[in-house]
């Protein structure tokens, strides 16, 4: 038997056994298709990660705001001090 005959024998058409279609349909109806489920702990990890990221972003934002406020307060008070002293200086100069 040559290769061609072997292939033909192997791939020959065969009729299914009686009731095959019925069995396939019955099994398909009885078992729901498996859903792609995300494990619960993954949700918890995702939520924790989101909380950590949210906290870090808020903290960074607050730090930046405080830094800016600090710089502005220093400038504001220095300007106030400078102008106060300049005014006092003018009085002192005029009195002398």
């Amino acid at each position: 038997m040559n290769l061609e005959d072997e292939l033909r024998a192997a791939l020959r058409r065969e009729d299914p056994s009686p009731g095959f279609a019925g069995r396939v349909l019955a099994r398909a109806q009885s078992r729901p298709a498996p859903k792609a489920r995300i494990p619960r702990f993954m949700w918890a990890v995702a939520m924790a990660a989101m909380l950590v990221i949210g906290f870090a972003v808020t903290s960074e934002y607050r730090q930046m705001k405080a830094e800016r406020a600090g710089r502005e307060a220093v400038i504001a008070l220095r300007i106030a001090a400078e102008k106060l002293n300049q005014a006092r200086d003018k009085v002192v100069r005029r009195e002398n």
Partner: protein
């Protein structure tokens, strides 16, 4: 109903007696004309943040003093403009601020006027403590208005190193020299 009207009247009267926070208005258009400008407004929450930041960053020796000064403050507003040329602002621009400083509660403790320059210092005191402080410094090419709300010691403020100007000791009693024209 009569009681409600009475409460409303008392509340209104009390509100009128309390000097409102100084608002620096009428200078908004000057920033576009200025060579350099500073516009700083810090409310109590921002000042708290600033104090917290300065507490953790003690690099500058003045920062401890600044933090101490900030402790009693409720608000700071600074508007400062430096112009290339003279005549970029009018004295009338300062009128809305001066009008507020003429209201009860505020008193002018220093007024130095010359042909081209004006320096005015105002304070608002409560129970012997300075709880409000304002400076108007107008020069031909520079205009600065500072308004500070809250408890502040002017001696401590004057000790603070300015922007390149040496501090001058402030006498115990603030004085109004009383001469109009050149020096009031």
């Amino acid at each position: 109903m009569r009681r409600l009207c009475l409460i409303v009247l008392i509340a209104g009267w009390t509100a009128l007696q309390l000097p409102a926070q100084l608002r620096i208005t009428g200078l908004d258009g000057l920033a576009s004309k200025a060579k350099e400008s500073v516009d700083i407004t810090l409310d109590s929450s921002m000042l708290q943040m600033a104090g917290g930041f300065l507490a953790g960053n003690g690099k500058d020796k003045d920062q401890a003093k600044i933090k101490e000064l900030l402790n009693g403050l409720k608000a700071i507003t600074v508007k400062s403009f430096e112009f290339k040329e003279t005549g970029q602002y009018r004295m009338e621009d300062l009128e809305p601020i001066r009008a507020q400083l003429r209201t009860p509660g505020w008193s002018r403790i220093l007024n130095v006027q010359s042909k081209e320059e004006i320096s005015e210092i105002y304070t608002r005191t409560e129970q012997g403590k300075v709880v409000g402080f304002a400076i108007i410094a107008a020069e031909p090419k520079e205009l600065t208005v500072v308004a500070i709300e809250g408890t502040i010691d002017l001696k401590d403020l004057s000790k603070l190193g300015g922007l390149g100007v040496p501090a001058i000791p402030v006498p115990e009693q603030p004085k109004d020299t009383g001469k109009k024209g050149k020096q009031e």
